[in-house]
Every structure is written in C-alpha cells, then in structure tokens.
C-alpha cells in the first residue's frame, strides 16, 4: 500500500518539498503576520478591533480566500510536514550544537503549533459545531465575543497559557523556518550570511512575539462594552453595589 502512495510523491519529490517550504512563508507566514495585525488592533481599542474585523467580514470572496490561501496551504504544510518530521532522528543529547537544537525545536514547535491550530479552530472558528454561539452572531461586537471565548469551557488563565504557548511555537516555527527557507532556496549560502539572517530572524521573532503578547494582554484585560455600548456587566454590578 505504501508503494502505491510513493509513486507520484517520489516523482515530484523535489517540487513537493519546495512547495512545502514556500507555503510556510507564503501564504502561511503572511497570514500569521496579518492575523497578528488583526489581533493587535484590540490593543488600540474595542472600536479599532470591531471595525477591523468587520472590514474582514465584508471582504468579497472571503470564504474562497479563506479556503485557498489559509485552510488548504495549512493543511498541506501540516500533513506533509508530519511526513518530514517523522523522518528526523534528533540527536541533540549527543551533539548539542545551537543549530542542532533549532533543528529539533523546529520539529517540536511544528507539533505544538499543529495541536494549537486545531484547538484554536475549534475554540473560535468552528465553536458553533460544538454547541457554542456562532461567531457570526457576534456581529458587530467582535471584541466582546472574543473575550467571551476566553472564558468558555476553560478559565481565562488556562486559555492564556495555551495561547501564549501556541503563539511562541508558531512564531519560532515561522522565524526559524524563514532561515531554513532561505538556505533551502539558495538565498543565503555562506556561513556569515546565514548568521546575519539568523540574527534578523531572531529579532523578527521577538517583535512578533511582543506583538502577539500585547494582543493577548488587551483581550485579557480590556473591558469590552459589547452591544449597545453598555457598561460591562461586572462593572455595572459593582457600581450598583456601591
């Protein structure tokens, strides 16, 4: 059975590997950047976030874009990535070089990110399949809806831990993947240029991480006013008591 599958995979081995490498940067890396951009508008205020998400929801061909440029590339990158990851025999315990650690972490963060994306999709994108309210019903109070999501099923602290781990794994995988992409395609060749690229990727990683963290901070601490611009329930209650 394995032989039957091996045919076309072998025939287009190089092209599939290169496609896998490319997909990680475009569109998946570009999508992650855009996703962090959207999230970070929460830090700028409820109206910013709601307006931005509303703009996305009003994009023409939204579902087609979502399927062609997000779901399909991520599914391909994940499934073929599992094939690649299973071929690794990591040996950092014996050869603890920094680059070898990054090789191992690239695969570990791949598994973490894969699990996290599934959790994240169930948590927000497809939560209505699992008995939660549809995100479409949140229209146009997306921030309030998102915040509710962070107390759904689990306490907010648990969700925050999950999201910080998922964010860190995804950002590491992207930024280290940017370096390996450049080696794979022959953009950088020599050791010095590779080191410069690694430093730049590390700086980018820290930046993306900080960007993602302030979004989570805003989502965790902001008091969304929700529908009708009413005071959040617990604030109103507090004032009533006093």
């Amino acid at each position: 059975m394995a032989e039957a599958v091996a045919g076309p995979l072998d025939q287009h081995h190089f092209a599939i590997r290169r496609l896998h490498s490319l997909m990680g940067i475009v569109p998946i890396g570009a999508f992650l950047f855009n996703h962090l951009l959207t999230n970070s508008t929460a830090f700028l205020g409820e109206k910013n976030f709601d307006d931005h998400v509303l703009w996305i929801h009003h994009m023409p061909w939204l579902l087609a874009i979502e399927v062609c440029f997000i779901f399909v590339p991520i599914a391909f990158h994940a499934v073929y990535g599992v094939v690649i990851a299973l071929q690794a025999r990591s040996n950092v315990s014996r050869y603890g070089y920094g680059d070898n650690w990054r090789y191992m972490l690239q695969r570990v963060t791949a598994w973490i990110t894969l699990v996290f994306i599934v959790v994240h999709l169930v948590h927000f994108r497809f939560a209505h399949w699992f008995g939660a309210e549809s995100y479409a019903a949140a229209h146009p109070y997306f921030l309030a809806f998102t915040q509710q999501g962070f107390t759904m099923w689990l306490p907010m602290s648990a969700w925050m831990v999950i999201y910080v781990i998922g964010l860190a794994a995804a950002v590491f995988h992207l930024c280290n993947g940017l370096v390996t992409f450049c080696i794979t395609w022959g953009v950088v060749i020599g050791d010095d240029s590779r080191k410069r690229l690694s430093l730049a990727a590390a700086a980018l990683g820290l930046l993306l991480m900080a960007w993602g963290l302030i979004s989570l901070y805003a989502l965790g601490t902001m008091e969304a006013r929700g529908p009708g611009g009413a005071e959040p329930a617990h604030v109103a209650q507090h004032e009533h008591l006093s």
Partner: protein, 250 residues
Amino acid sequence: MADAQIRFRIKRQDKPDAAPYWDDFVMPYAPGHNVVSALMYLREHPVNARGRGVEPVVWESNCMEEVCGACAMIVNGTPRQACAALIDQLTQPITLEPLSKFPVVRDLLVERERMFAALKQVKAWVPLDGSQDIHEGAPRISPVDQSLRYLFSRCMTCGCCMEVCPQFHEDSRFIGPAPLGQVALHNQHPTSTYFRSERLQALMEPGGIADCGNAQNCVKVCPKDIPLTQAIGELGRQTTVQWLKDLFVR
C-alpha cells in the same frame, strides 16, 4: 608513570546480525599513542580487563595521517578518525564505538557502501576526454576558486558527517552531506560542468538535497573542515535554478 595505564571501553559485535556488547581493556601507558596504535597493541595482546583471552578487536585503518577516512569511529562520543585521536588528549576510559549509521561488519568495522553508491548516483567525478578533447588547453582556475575547491577535494568519505546528521539513518533515503560536498566541488570544475545538470537532477530525486534538514551538524564534525553547509546552500541555489529551467525551458 611506570604503573600508568590506558583504559578502553569498546563496543563489540561478533558478526553483522549479532547483538553488540561492551568489552573493557587495559594496556600499559606509553607516550605518543593514538587510538589506532593502541588498538594494534591490543591486537597483539588480546586479553580483556578481566584477564580473559578474547578475539582481537576488529577495525579498519590505512594511512595513519587522517587522509584516508578508513579508521572513522566514535571516540568518546564524537565521530572522528581514530589515528588522529591522541591518547594523551582523551579522557579515560576511552570509549570506542563503530559508526552507528552504517551496518556493522564486526566490532568497529562498518560497511560504508551506501556513501560510495551515493557518489556514483551524483556522478562525483571529472569526465575524461572522449574520442576528442573536450577542452582546449589547461582550464584556468583562479587561486581564490582553487583554494575553496581544495577544501572540498579533501573529503575522504569517512562518514563522520553522516554519523551526526539527524536526517541520515537506515530508514531514510537521504544521501547525506559528503556526496553533496562532492557535487558542489565537481559542479565548479571547468571540464566537469558537462555533467552539471545531470548531477543536479540526481540531487532532486528522493533522498537528494531536499531531504537536508538544516541541522548543520555535518560541518561541525568534519575532520577536514569542509564547508559542507556552504555546499548545501550553493546546491540549494543551483537546484532552484535547474528546477525552474526544467519547468519553463525544457
């Protein structure tokens, strides 16, 4: 230092399908020993640390000056040439293991055929003239190019880079770093460029350059300081161009 000793802990295997086991050896200290010369002493005195007579340890070696690659083994956890591993610089007991990525024939002797098969697969040679000269006069090579190529030409197919590569193992088809270095070398040679496309196309097969995982261990253990990661980067670029040519030109 009259009572000084050299202690070994050697991973042994009686035949290819036998289970490996550890055997300890002790021999009198003498200055200037390397692992191969010490193994020669043990071959003359095949008695293990418990005083039992055993079959002499089997290993492979030739040149004794780190140019042939035959005596590659894992010395104190690091793959290297046993002849260049000086006893005075090693922590004792000195552990010796066969390279783990190749089938063991006996004790420290392994079958490295897979590496030579890979060199054939990628045509890692300079073609001789056929019925006619394929170049006019001696090809000119600048000293700068020559010095880089000299580094690659020092590869002795010892297998140390394969040993540390997490992508190279018995269940993978990856040809490993050493043959990639040879493709980089031969694709630069003026007369050898005739095979350039064929070499690159061979590298684009399953087990070729796309199977490199960028762990970059190879370059760190190479006993000949061959810039293997540079070769891999260069071949990444060459195969990218070759791929696009095959897609759009052919």
